[in-house]
């Protein structure tokens, strides 16, 4: 499909054409119950569409989103729906949201959007709402209950009283490593809504929760963090199968806390280093996570990509469509009771990623 020389094609020698022809849809089989129809959904996240001025936008980020959309449309059989995981815009501007929404509008299938901090802190999600509706909601699909949370809220003080202008508020929150930022949270109001939403469900109903920030605490300095994560986890704990999928981190992470499985998704725009590569930081990267390779900046789409997800096993299987790296699949290991990388988790097959300097 691609004539470009990519790291993968250089290393594999065989060209990059495998990417689209091997989308492993046929592997999706229903492993439990049999009362539920099988399906996959597409997960695209963190496009960070960035306006330069007028009608010109940063080409690099545009290309990431366009490529994800084009590839997602080629999947057979088609996904049942698409999730966009947040941070469609870089600075929350209408122009950026409109431009991103236009690219996303080419997607086949229904789109459900998640709020990211880059979409929110200019006008507190006002314009985003005109495009994508409520900031948090739930829906049912083929026996699975899906919940979309807005996890990037923060204190009233920071949101309403700290900054002289909305533009500055947006800029301060947009800097990942900016000490003037503020920890993300779901907040009381939304947790009450969540408790209500869950109250009517059978505890055997599989739950899939979409949030932008991790509903767990990894590294506060970069907001790989949700301040009330434990309270949200407590609401989800009584269910048999709980799966949280989050964006924001631009890297592969997975974890298990009690009955809750966590999977992150990749960005289409650019990758982020793992927090442990910041020499002055203390990070709590889940020990389960086998990191992705260090990004090679000479290949523009390296360490970016999108995901195909199914819950055929009763838990999330995330198939990472990585453009310049080997594809990875993270699936729930029912014996171990947590997600594993199906190729690299076993110590005997352990092929460690490069050193993260």
């Amino acid at each position: 499909m691609s004539e470009f020389i990519t790291r993968r094609s250089v290393l594999a020698g065989a060209g990059a054409s495998a990417a689209l022809t091997t989308l492993p849809i046929s592997m999706v089989t229903l492993a439990f119950g049999g009362t539920r129809e099988d399906f996959t959904f597409t997960y695209i996240s963190d496009a960070h569409i960035q306006q330069i001025k007028g009608a010109s936008f940063v080409r690099n980020w545009d290309q990431g989103l366009k490529r994800a959309v084009a590839e997602a449309n080629l999947v057979k059989p088609e996904s049942d729906f698409v999730i966009f995981g947040g941070d469609l815009a870089q600075l929350g501007k209408r122009e950026e949201l409109d431009h991103g929404a236009e690219i996303l509008s080419k997607l086949k299938g229904k789109l459900h959007a998640v709020m990211g901090e880059h979409d929110y802190y200019l006008d507190l999600g006002d314009y985003w709402s005109k495009l994508y509706g409520p900031h948090y909601y739930s829906f049912d699909h083929k026996g699975v209950h899906f919940i979309v949370l807005n996890s990037i809220l923060t204190s009233e003080q920071w949101t309403f009283h700290r900054w002289p202008t909305a533009e500055q508020r947006m800029l301060e929150m947009a800097g990942l490593d900016n000490p003037n930022g503020s920890p993300f949270m779901v907040g009381d109001k939304q947790r009450k809504w969540l408790a209500n939403d869950l109250a009517k469900l059978d505890k055997k109903t599989p739950l899939v929760v979409f949030s932008h920030s991790p509903l767990q605490k990894i590294y506060k300095g970069w907001n790989f963090w949700t301040d009330d994560a434990e309270e949200v986890q407590a609401l989800l704990a009584p269910f048999d199968s709980v799966n949280v999928i989050y964006g924001h981190v631009h890297q592969i992470q997975y974890n298990q806390i009690g009955n809750i499985s966590f999977n992150s998704v990749m960005a289409t725009a650019w990758p982020w280093p793992y927090p442990q590569s910041y020499a002055q930081a203390e990070s709590h990267l889940p020990v389960l996570t086998i990191p992705m390779n260090r990004a090679d900046p000479f290949f523009e789409r390296d360490a970016t990509g999108w995901q195909l997800i199914d819950i055929g096993s009763g838990r999330v299987t995330a198939r990472y469509q990585l453009w310049d790296n080997d594809q990875r699949t993270v699936a729930f290991d029912h014996k171990a009771g947590h997600p594993v990388d199906i190729a690299y988790q076993e110590p005997t097959q352990h092929r460690l990623p490069q050193t993260h300097y």
Binding site: I52, L176, D177, Y278, A279, Q280, A295
Partner: protein, 133 residues
Amino acid sequence: MLRSTLLLAFGLAAFGATTARADEFTKTDVERYQKEFEQVAAKGRELWTSGALGTNGVACAQCHPNAANTHPETYPKFQKQLGKVTQLFEMVNWCIRNPLQGANLPPDDPRMTALVSYITFERRGVKLAPGQH
């Protein structure tokens, strides 16, 4: 910790007031040198996060929060994509030309000095590993 504290106490007792070294920098000197560096590194942090180095508003910090994943301790090193042994400033310029769609800074441009100061400061304490890829 306790042991080193004790050793220090012993050392002080043994040498008393004669520990001053020959031609020592004055406290004022040292403070000034430190402040000069800190100001330049702070200027580097400002440039790093500003989006003003290139033409498209992209900032270094978008991909490299706290200058992470820049591994300054490994330079100079053979950069296979550039086909030669390169210094850190050449890689900074590569980023300015490509993701930032800007123009090279001269190696001794005060802005380059500021950027390299900031990158290195964020990596303080890490062992030098020149040539490491």
